[in-house]
Each structure stands twice: as structure tokens, then as C-alpha cells.
Assembly symmetry: C2
Homo-oligomer: 232 residues x 2
DNA sequence: AATCAATTCTAGGGTGACCTAAATCCCATC
DNA sequence: GATGGGATTTAGGTCACCCTAGAATTGATT
């Protein structure tokens, strides 16, 4: 066993690539150049270039034309950044009352500048939170996460009762709308109806003031991850 | 009057240059290439190059071989960064109990990543602080500061009573030692003795537990800014 | 007025991270 | 088993920011 060498500091772009690849790899298959490019809003050619550099640094393994996988080092680095990102989101939301829809963008920049020490102080101040404001799990200090495979609200059947576990956090407008509907991680829903031809899903939102009926389009519903709690 | 255009986002290095130039200009004369290089720990040749770019962006005016001055835009940008830096220092120290000697390094990175909104939330949480943990004045939102010209402890005469206003914040070791001595902004000192040939200055530290006598070398004393409070 | 040391600038290089345009590869379909 | 469209890589730039070496400028001193 070699003593783990101090992880050399990575650049901001590199950290963002690793996070993107980690995320894309979650579904099982290696991350494709195009998918990485889309996620980071840069050209595929740029991704090819960066992937070479990441491979040189031993952070990913690349089989040309076949996609990219994180190495052990790459995965650890990705999880470190993810931990920072999500703790920052928690801290901003809970302590500074930062608006729900904008914490992601702020954390996206701070994650590259905040030291381990700062982030751990924030975590301690919050009592070591286990998930971020959007329901994403926070990796532990030693790099463990349980990524539960969740269904989306779009896949739930009428009559089901579900608990919202997680929502996508990248689009402020979407988040603001979900907040308006009263749909946030932890809230309870009953699926009342599902219109045919990808029509809207009608849900009963338990936690809205006095409860409320809401119609949600499939596009939006596909961004809301839920866990079944039983049939009505 | 033209409407003030939204200040375009500056890069981290540019913000650091502007802060350095602002600081160096405080003594009155334009900032020299060498002084900027020393302050930022980069080569003079690199400074020449960057100064050209800053001048192109209208942030400084450069008279070759004669030094650099901030323009109005440059000064405003410098003060914005300085405000961020100092509010961050306050927040880290007061809310997160971040160690006194390390806040500077942390703020040096965060100042380029934290949004205006975040910094203003921190300022509000602190009740709009007017100086940072090292005694430096915090520019207001609209870019006003009073930079009081202070004497250093090294210049104080025996018998004088002084209040410490500000200490240099760049060297952690120095800061830790000052903290040990009980010397921090706001504390009261009486100069008991000043040994000849740049010998140590003996002071009575009022605020140490029960008061204490301390000997301070001139080197260190020159980094401690004080305000006279009367003769004994 | 000539000289010299320090300062500053210029020339020429390198790296990281992006781009567009033009190959090249893959594989699903014919 | 050929072929074409989509995905990917390569080729060739750009820009910001840093470097070392060497040339030019300054102004202080003979
Ligand atoms: Mn990021
Ligand atoms: Mn999130
Ligand atoms: Mn800085
Ligand atoms: Mn400070």
C-alpha cells in the first residue's frame, strides 16, 4: 500500500469535467464526448482536447471513439467537488437564506475556490447534512455516496402515492415554478390522473397550504424524482 | 451623463492586479512595475504585459517607464473587490470562527468567485461591518472609503498611549504571534520603553488578561498601525 | 557629457482552455 | 458487404497569463 499522495489542486474546468463525467457515468455506460460537451455547453472538439489532458493526468481512461470513464483518482476528485458543491448549496440556503433557484449557480463557482477547511466548517455548522436543497446526496468526507436509483414523476401511475426525493437543479425558472406548485424534496404527492398522449399529470400536493391539486406537464415531471409510498 | 454600463466581469488575476495597484497608489505616487511584481510574486516582465492589457481595457493609465495609475473604472473595480475581500474576511471570522491568520488566504480566492448578492447577504448578516478583522476599512457599496493615514507602532514615543487600529494581514505566522501578544485592532497600548539602535519596543497591553508587558521588535512594530490617544 | 546600475520593456516561449473546419471512424441500414 | 449520417478526433487558431533573456530607458554619479 502506498501512502495516498496529497491530491494536487485541480483547475476549475477540470473539476467541472470530472463532475460531468461522474454524473453521466451514473447510468452505467461510459460518458460520451457529445454528452460531456452538451452538459458543459462547449464544443465536442474542446472535449476531445480536454479528455486527452485528463487521461494524461490519470483522472480518466479514454478508449477513443468509445467514451470516457473516471479512474479511482478521478472519481475521488469528482466526489470531493460534489461534496463541496452540495454543502455550499445547503449553507447558502439554510444560513444565508439564499434563493432556492440561484444557489446552484453560486455553488458552481464557489466549489472551485472554497478550501476543504471552509467547507468542513460549513458542514459542521449545519450538523453534517446528508443531502442538498434539491435532494441530491452529499458524499462523505471519505468519498462515499449512495446514489439511489429513482423513478421520475412522469413514470408514476394514477392512484400512486409518492414522496418527492430530488429535483433537477440547473434551471432557475423550473425551480421557481416547482416552488410555486409546492413541489420540493420531501413533499408528498398523490397521482390523481395522467392524461394520454404525454398529457399533463394531475397530482394532489399534500404539503401545499391545505393541500392543492396541480397539473404538471410530462417535461417537468421527468425532472422530478420520486419514491413510491403506496397505492391508494 | 451616460448611464453607467454594467461592469463587465473581470478575471481573477485582473482583480488582483487592480487591488495591488490601488494599494500601492495609496502613498501618492503611481505604482511601479517592480512593486506590482513583488506584491503579486510574479516577474516584472509579466506585469508589463498585463499592464498593457489593463490599459487596453481602460482600467489603468500607463506612462511607460513612469508607472501606472488606476482610472475611474479601475478604481471602482478595485474597491468592489476590496469590499468583497473584507466582508468575506469578516464573515469567515465572525460567523464561521475561521482562524484569524488564515482568513486572508481564503478570501483572496473567494473574492473572485462570490457574487455581489452573496457578499451583500453576508454583509447584512453582520450588520454592515465597517472594517475587516485586521482593521482595514470596508468600502461602501457605492465605492467610498476613508483611508486614514496612520502611524505605525514603531514610530510611537515612550509615554504615549495608543490604540491599535490595523495590522498587516498577509503573513499567518506574524498574525498568530500578534494574537499571542494580545495585540489586535481595537486594543490599547502604552509605550513603556523604546530601546536604542532599533531595539525592541516595550509596551503595556491593556486588554491582555490583567494587562501584560510585552517586548516587540521594530520589524513587527512597523506592521502595526496605531492612533494616538494621549501622553502619560 | 559620459557612464553605469537599476528599472522597465520587448522578444520569443509555454500551457490551459476554448473555437471552427476538416478529416476519420463507427455502425445501422440497405 | 457497401454506404451515409452521426459521433469523434485532428488540424490549425485565438486569448489570457505566465516565464527567461536580452534590449532600451532612466536618472544618479562621476
Ligand atoms: Mn463549477
Ligand atoms: Mn443541488
Ligand atoms: Mn485574490
Ligand atoms: Mn484583512
Amino acid at each position: 500500500m502506498t501512502a495516498s499522495p496529497e491530491p494536487q489542486p485541480l483547475t476549475g474546468p477540470v473539476e467541472d469535467y470530472l463532475k460531468a463525467i461522474y454524473d453521466l457515468e451514473l447510468v452505467g455506460s461510459p460518458a460520451s464526448t457529445n454528452d460531456i460537451a452538451d452538459r458543459l455547453a462547449i464544443s465536442p472538439a474542446s472535449v476531445s482536447g480536454m479528455v486527452r489532458r485528463l487521461a494524461d493526468q490519470g483522472l480518466v481512461s479514454h478508449e477513443p471513439y468509445r467514451g470516457v470513464r473516471l479512474t479511482g483518482d478521478g472519481r475521488r476528485a469528482a466526489l470531493r467537488t460534489l461534496r463541496r458543491h452540495r454543502i455550499l448549496e445547503c449553507y447558502l440556503t439554510e444560513v444565508l437564506d439564499y434563493p432556492w433557484d440561484r444557489v446552484h449557480a453560486e455553488a458552481e463557482r464557489l466549489e472551485h475556490a472554497a478550501s476543504e477547511e471552509l467547507v468542513e466548517r460549513m458542514a459542521a455548522a449545519l450538523g453534517d447534512p446528508v443531502q442538498d436543497p434539491h435532494g441530491a446526496p452529499i458524499p462523505t468526507r471519505d468519498g462515499r455516496v449512495e446514489e439511489s436509483a429513482l423513478r421520475t414523476l412522469a413514470e408514476a401511475a394514477p392512484g400512486e402515492q409518492v414522496r418527492v426525493r430530488r429535483v433537477h437543479d440547473k434551471e432557475p425558472a423550473r425551480l421557481r415554478y416547482l416552488a410555486e406548485l409546492g413541489i420540493r424534496p420531501g413533499c408528498h404527492l398523490r397521482i390523481l390522473d395522467k392524461a394520454p398522449f404525454d398529457g399533463p399529470i394531475t397530482v394532489w400536493v399534500e404539503d401545499a397550504v391545505g393541500g392543492a391539486t396541480r397539473a404538471v406537464g410530462v417535461g417537468l415531471a421527468a425532472q422530478v424524482y420520486v419514491e413510491s409510498e403506496g397505492q391508494a
